[in-house]
């Protein structure tokens, strides 16, 4: 199981800036190991965000997203105390959800 995400969500007026740092190898499937064998692709394919349980963002990612991915977005109509949940799923079917409270 992957490490927890680091999520910072800060209220800015009637918006909230959310910054997420995920922990993932993001192997492209293009690289070869020392023996010349291709290292299989292993990367996050889907990212979703929910505000107070309501889906607000869906994204699809390819292997070209950098290792330990960073994501920043702005939620409209969010205020301090609201809960932001981020979920990712990788191409191995592994998934992880973490939640943060907007401050």
């Amino acid at each position: 199981m992957a490490d927890p995400m680091r999520i910072r969500a800060q209220a800015q007026g009637d918006k909230a800036l959310v910054r997420v740092l995920m922990s993932h190898e993001m192997e492209t499937g293009q690289r070869k190991d020392a023996a010349g064998k291709v290292i299989p692709a292993w990367h996050i394919t889907e990212v979703a965000a929910a505000l107070n349980g309501k889906p607000v963002l869906a994204a699809e990612w390819g292997p070209a997203v950098a290792k330990n991915p960073f994501l920043q977005f702005t939620l409209k109509g969010a205020k301090a105390g609201d809960k932001v949940a981020i979920t990712w799923k990788d191409n191995h079917g592994d998934t992880r959800t973490d939640e943060a409270t907007i401050s």
Partner: protein
């Protein structure tokens, strides 16, 4: 004792075997648009998300990217737009093995402004594309040079 590193290695091996034997659960990635991420060119990737016309350059789409990226493994880039009725925002790197980096769905609850970090194989044009609900594709592009030396210069 099983360390996290071992556990990760192990799961990678198992998944590799599954993939090799074709037993990989397809359900897990059902909603991932494989055709878009397999596309080699900008136009093909954009088409996979339902854009009808050829992409047109627009100043209403903003691409945030550095002029020079010292490390191709971590290139900060962002896409934003002021256009109404935008459904998807895409980030693409023209010379990557597959052009599409990421697709974001725009909803009423989020601003059409996303930042992330991408990998770049070499210096290339980077595209930010907005696809509207009626199938138009509008883009902004910028050339990003990747320094190989690692310590700039």
């Amino acid at each position: 004792m099983t360390t996290r590193r071992d556990a990760l290695k192990h799961s990678a091996v198992v998944a590799g075997l599954l993939a090799a034997t074709g037993l990989f659960p397809t359900l897990a990635r059902a909603s991932w648009t494989k055709s878009a991420f397999d596309a080699r060119s900008i136009a093909d990737a954009v088409k996979a998300y339902g854009a009808g016309a050829a992409p047109a350059e627009s100043k209403d789409v903003t691409l945030t990217a550095p002029d020079i990226a010292e490390n191709g493994a971590v290139v900060p880039m962002g896409v934003a737009t002021t256009l109404p009725n935008v459904k998807h925002l895409l980030l693409l790197v023209e010379k990557n093995p597959s052009a599409l980096v990421a697709k974001f769905d725009v909803s009423d609850a989020v601003e059409a402004n996303f930042l992330t970090r991408a990998k770049m194989g070499q210096s290339s044009d980077v595209y930010a594309v907005a696809i509207t609900a009626d199938g138009k594709a509008l883009f902004a592009k910028k050339e990003v040079k990747v320094t190989l030396g690692g310590c700039g210069g």
